[in-house]
Each structure stands twice: as structure tokens, then as C-alpha cells.
Amino acid sequence: MTGSIDRAGYGAVRLGVSTSRNGVQAVAINDSGNIISANAVNRSASLADSVATALAPLLEQVDASTVSSVALATSWLEEQTHTRSTHARVGVLRIGLTSTGAPPLSGWPAALAAQLDGPRVIVAGGADVDGRPLADLDLDAIDSFARQCQGLVDAVAISSVFSPLTAEHELAAAERLAAVLGSVPITLSHTVGGFGLLERENAAILNASLRHLGSELVSDARRGLDRAGITAELYLAQNDGTLLSAEAAAVMPVRVFDSRLATAANGAALGAGVSDAIVIDFDDELPRASVVQGNSVALESDRSSLAGVRVIQYLPRGFDLPRSSNPVDRLRQHARNAPLLAVGDLAGRGAEDGPPFGATVPEHAEFASAIGAATADVSASVSGFIDSDDDRDNLLEQNRQRAVEEAILAGAHPSFTRVTAVDETPISHMVGEPRRLVVIAAGPPFSFADEATQVHNSTQQNNERKAP
């Protein structure tokens, strides 16, 4: 690649690895943003083997000690949920008796709900709209739930009314459960999402059900790197195309459920040197399309669904494309004058008249997802609420600070992490102009390699965008 990747300037070499059902692609990108090595192999049964095999030829050209970070984009978790009966048995504790009309797992696909198959209860507690307790936390009911779960569940999800305002009851309940359940992993809803109890709880339950797979994914990937002789930090691409440290991903698998659509879109636009594009990913049997707007993949702004479950998570606005029809006109609406790009290892093949839908195949199309991962920033978001009586500037500043801290915890480099988006949504039917707030912060992956002398430059941008 010749200078079309304009994201250079720090660290030594960043590796990107992408796995789909059929193949594994790996790229090495130097600090000028050039691809210095790339390799693709077929998927083998073991993820560790696949990763190691894909990376091996790269390390003939790249000194492993100069690798500053490795980013993995994978649909592995999504695949597992199709191929194995792998969701763990999950106990669900919801705190807040105001919510009994829509109990946990309302609206879930029946088959998935049946797989989780653990105790579900709603107990007294939670917070009201002003953050004050709705009721005292019912510790007796929690103890009884803990005993019900004992020896029966693999993981627990806890949600609480208005926990984005105050997570006190979720934390107290977790402590109580841990006393009985020991090391059973617990997902707290306030760590998974923003406002919207049902959607946040859904994401927490999905996350809990994926915890053991998340650990497996991260340890397999790490083993692959070890085998290849790479000691650099491992990051996983999130569903929105940004990165998360492997440690954080292992406990927050719902965020890395299926990242390949987003990384492929970002990598395609980067490869084509454009900021807006419609991208069709031909890596798997079913091609999927997404939209890049202003250098990053367009995300679903309101209602989104994961594994058929309603959540509020940052997911790409994606479309499955049956090969037989021509849905490009519909996609055109989203990016009218933007080029149509085809990427993925099947992009240039199999069609006698060139790529389907008359799409352009950009440079390194086969490696788009790996490129998108290798060049992504680490990011994190926080949700807040600003009431009319609050000191707006102060609260905004606090939330900006929190977002930066969360991004750093997720693995972003402290020196270069900045707020990238602030989204304020006015709330209707409430007096005094209250607003929901989402702040996103991002920075390049932290790396010990570039600590000493490297000067970070071109990725540091202060122009904030609106959150999706």
C-alpha cells in the first residue's frame, strides 16, 4: 500500500488478523501506514493454529520484537453460537419491582431463551429517575436466588432500574451473590450499556452467556500469538470496529460478538482512500453490506439487535445481501455519491463479469478486515444524564473525563486518548430540558514499544464528531 493509509506516526509495527468462517488474513502495517507484509490461509479447526499459521510468514519480514500491538477481528463468537450449543446457563437477577410487566428474556427467540435455562427473579430495589432508591434492596430475596443458582448456573447477569445513574444495588447484589457462588462470573448491566433496562439487561444476559466462550477466544488467540513468538499486547476488535484489550474482551464478550463487518468496512475505505463508501463484504457465503461515513462505519443509532435479541449496543448498520437480488439501490440512499466497494477473499473471484453489482475492488481487498483491525483505535463510551438543576459544564466535564478513563482501561494509550464524540439527546415530556449524554473517547492501542521515544502525531485529532 502506498501512503493511502493516513494513520501513521506511532509505534513500530501493528499487526491485524481477521478470521471468518473460511479464512484467516493477517497484515503487518508499519508506522508510516504502509502494509509491509500480508498473508492469507484457510481456517483450521483451532483458532490458535489459524492465527499462528497466518502470522508465520509475516514474521519472516517483520522482527517480532518491533510489533507494538496485535488486533484480532473475528466472527468466532457469532459462529460458535450457530455451530455449538454453547450459551452457558445463566441466572438472571433483576432489581426493581416496577418492571414486572416485562420480565427478563421478554422478546427473546424461544430457542435461545430455552438454552439459558437458569433461575430468573425480580427483587425489590433499584433507583428512581432522580437516582434515589425506589426501595431498599431485598437482600433476603437475593440470598434465596443465590441458593437457587448454586451448582446450577455457569454465569449470572444482574440488572437494576436506573443503574446508569447509580450502580449501588447491582454492586451490592453482586457481592452478596459472590459470597455464595464463588467464582461464577457475574455481568453487571451498568458495565454493558446505557439507559433502557430491558435492552441493557438483554446485553448483560448475552454477555454472561458468552463469558466462557470469551475466555476461550482470548486464550486461543493468545496461544496463537505465543506460538508465533509475539509478545505484544493483544486487542480484539469490537462490534463497532474499534478495539478493546484482550483482558477486557474476555469479560465483555458481547462487545466482540462479531466485529468483522465493521473492520472490513473501515479497512475497505482506507484501502480505497475514501472517507465515504458502501462496502460489500464477500468473506462468507452470505455477503453483507455496510456504509462508511466520515472515515468510520455507520452505526445503528437506536434500536439494534444481537443474536435476535433487542439491545442498545454500537452495531454497524448492516445488510445481508442475497446474491440473487440487486439491493444496491437501497444502499445507495445511504451514501449517494460514495463508491461501492467489494472486499473479502471472494470479492474478485467467482464472477465472470467482474465483481458483483459493478463494485470496485480496492487495493488489498482480501485483507480489508485485517487492515481495519490493525489501524483501529481503542475506544470506550459512557452514559450520563444531565438534569436541569445540574451544573451542566461540570457534569459534561466529569463524563468526558470518565470516558477517557474508560478508554484507557480498555487499552488506549493514556498520552493520546481524547474524546471523539459527545451526543446529547433531549428527553421529551420532562420539565427542564434534561438530556441523556453519551461520551465516546478513543486512542491508539497502548504499547510498551512506543513508550520511550515515539511521538504520536497524525492520529490525534481534536475534531469531535456526533455520536451515532
Binding site: 414486572t100 421478554s106 429517575v129 433496562l197 434500536r303 428527553i427 430540558e433
Partner: protein, 360 residues
């Protein structure tokens, strides 16, 4: 008429459309109703003409903020509290009815009826979404009821007995605020003669029909969508991308102006004026649709209705108008809900009959 599990999605879609951008996402109440109707159970919908004179009906609604609702959700115990309304009713009602047939308030009474095992009356007091409790058939005809009960999700209740002409909205809204921005509302039980005079009949069935109609749009061509809408007196006013949204805060929610750019370069923008609900659609100074007609903005791909909050820049949308219930067009009623009543300097204009395709 009967409603089963298979009608819920259409009912919710119709309710979303009738919300005209407001009245809340019916999703949550959809789940409540689904839980009630699973396993082949059904819900009876009875017409005004089927009511026996001594039959008593309890209207139900939720009042509050979608923000509070999204977290506290809805409780099954509120339904009991409102329905039995100790101290307000002499006897248990025979049926429930929606107070405002739109958004979550369309399906909440249905879920309540299913939980209580009573039928739903095929009528309501608005036939569409309005933010204020005063803009109902009761409010505009001076028939506002003297007895109300509100109940919050912690089981706290307030029973109101009023005399004279007091704005219900001004009374209830601050109480809702005090009670955590979310309360259930019911009134003293109502009987046939009163309901025949002051409610809009057939609106529950209409909601289901509208939902069924919108449910077919994603599979239709634009031309056939226009034809289908025309059969209901509706129009597709335009399609395009939201290029700008300017919001400014007001006491009960942000007022906003939205500009939609049609596909054809250089074609005139479609503008929507809104506050909680969509109030006006204007192109080149011509009013294409106005309140109280029902203006709905839907996602361009899925034809799913959007709330007024969701209509933000970069969204690709269609704009649709459906006629309001005839009773809203009678002079007294219209004066309370025409564009001037919402602070716009224009009169009501019926839905523009122009074929809009190709223009915006």
C-alpha cells in the same frame, strides 16, 4: 372481534403510526401483551354498539416520560390498582378502554385487559397521539371527568375529585413529576351513553388495520405504497435524507425543525415542524400536511415508524400523512388542535392531494 398473539405486531405498528412521532415506543407493552396472549389465548374487542347500558368501562393510560419508562418499565400491580381503584368505583368494571390510542398507550390497556381477563372497548378519546391530557374528546367538549386516579410504580396513588374547568394536564403533569415521571391514569367508570357521546368509536380496529397496511410496505413498490395509502385517505409526502435538525428547548420537550433532502438534486426540501409529535410538513411554502392529521416518519428501508426524537441528521426516511378522525375537524375540536393551537402561524390544511413521488 378478537385479538390473538398474531395480531400484536400489527397492533404495535399501527400504534406507532398513530403516535405521529410521540406517545412512546409500544415495544414494551407489546412484550406485556405477548406474555399475556401466549399459548393461544385471545382478547375480546367489543364495539360501542355491543355495550349493555349498565356495562362499566375503565379507561387506562400511562402518563410520564419515555426516559422513566425505559428504566422502570411497567408493573403488573399498577394495573390492579387502577382497575379496582378502591374508593373511586362502586364495583369492578366490566371492560377497559384506551384513553389515548397511540404508542405505548394503545397497547397498555390491551395488556391490562388480557391480564385482568376482561374485554377492551373499541374506542378511545383521541384516536392519535397528543402530548397533553387536555387535547382529548373529553377536554375539547367540556366533558372532562370529575374523578381521576393516578398510580405510580411504587404503588402510591392519588385520587382526584375536581369541580369546574381545570386543566387536567396542569394538574396531573406535576404529580407525575413528583411520582417519578411515570404514572398510570384511570377515571371513574364510564357507561354507554357517555361513551357514545364523547369517545371515538372503532379506533382499536382502525389501529390494527393501519398496522396491517404498514406491515406490507417494505415488500411493495413506492407506487403501490401510494395506492395503498390512498385507499385510507393517506399520502406519501416525500422520501429523502434528513440533512438538518435544529432543536430548541421548550418547557415540555424540544421543539425541532427538520429538513429532508429529496433524492433529486436541486429539488425543494421537505420541512417538518415538531414538538413531541410531528405537526407540519411544508415544501416550498406549501403545507402538505398539518396537525391534527397524522404525520408519520418511517425508516426508508424498513418502513418502521420513527419517534420525533429519532428523526436525526443522516437518517433516510419517508414522510407519510393519514387523515385524523373526522371529529377532530369539527370547528370546536379543530380550534384546540390545529397548527395555531401548537404555536404555528398557519391554519389547518388538509393533506395535500398532489402525487408526491418524484418531487421529494
Amino acid at each position: 372481534m378478537r385479538i390473538t398473539e398474531h395480531d400484536i405486531d400489527a397492533m404495535a405498528l399501527g400504534a406507532f403510526v398513530l403516535g405521529s412521532g410521540g406517545a412512546g415506543d409500544p415495544y414494551l407493552t407489546t412484550q406485556m401483551l405477548r406474555n399475556q396472549l401466549s399459548g393461544g389465548r385471545h382478547l375480546d374487542i367489543v364495539g360501542l354498539d355491543e355495550l349493555a347500558p349498565e356495562f362499566e368501562v375503565a379507561p387506562l393510560a400511562m402518563v410520564g416520560s419515555p426516559h422513566a419508562l425505559s428504566e422502570k418499565l411497567l408493573s403488573t400491580s399498577d394495573i390492579h390498582t387502577l382497575f379496582f381503584a378502591e374508593g373511586l368505583r362502586d364495583r369492578t368494571p366490566d371492560a377497559v378502554m384506551p384513553y389515548e390510542l397511540a404508542g405505548l398507550n394503545a397497547l397498555y390497556p390491551l395488556a391490562a385487559a388480557a391480564q385482568l381477563g376482561v374485554p377492551v372497548l373499541d374506542a378511545d378519546f383521541t384516536g392519535r397521539g397528543f402530548s397533553s391530557l387536555d387535547t382529548t374528546m373529553l377536554g375539547i367538549s367540556g366533558a372532562q371527568l370529575a374523578e381521576h386516579i393516578i398510580c405510580d410504580s411504587r404503588g402510591r396513588t392519588v385520587t382526584l375529585r375536581t369541580t369546574g374547568d381545570i386543566s387536567l394536564e396542569s394538574l396531573i403533569r406535576p404529580m407525575a413529576e413528583t411520582m417519578g415521571w411515570l404514572v398510570g391514569l384511570s377515571t371513574a367508570s364510564l357507561r354507554r351513553d357517555f361513551l357514545t357521546a364523547h369517545s371515538l368509536g372503532g379506533t382499536v380496529s382502525d389501529c390494527l388495520a393501519i398496522g396491517r397496511m404498514f406491515g406490507t410496505f417494505a415488500e411493495q413498490t413506492l407506487d403501490s405504497v401510494e395506492d395503498t395509502l390512498a385507499t385510507a385517505g393517506g399520502r406519501l409526502l416525500g422520501s429523502g435524507r434528513v440533512v438538518e435538525r435544529v432543536s430548541f428547548p421548550e418547557r415540555l420537550g424540544p421543539r425541532a425543525s427538520v429538513a429532508i433532502e429529496p433524492d433529486q438534486p436541486g429539488a425543494a426540501l421537505l420541512r417538518i415542524e415538531q414538538r413531541n409529535e410531528f405537526h407540519l410538513v411544508v415544501r416550498d411554502g406549501e403545507i402538505l400536511a398539518s396537525v391534527p392529521d397524522i404525520i408519520t416518519v418511517v425508516d426508508r428501508d424498513t418502513w418502521t415508524p420513527l419517534s420525533s426524537e429519532e428523526v436525526s441528521a443522516q437518517r433516510d426516511v419517508h414522510v407519510i400523512a393519514l387523515p385524523a378522525h373526522d371529529r377532530w375537524l369539527e370547528p370546536t375540536a379543530l380550534a384546540a388542535v390545529d397548527p395555531r393551537a401548537f404555536g404555528y402561524g398557519v391554519d389547518y390544511a388538509s393533506i395535500s392531494g398532489l402525487r408526491s413521488r418524484g418531487k421529494a
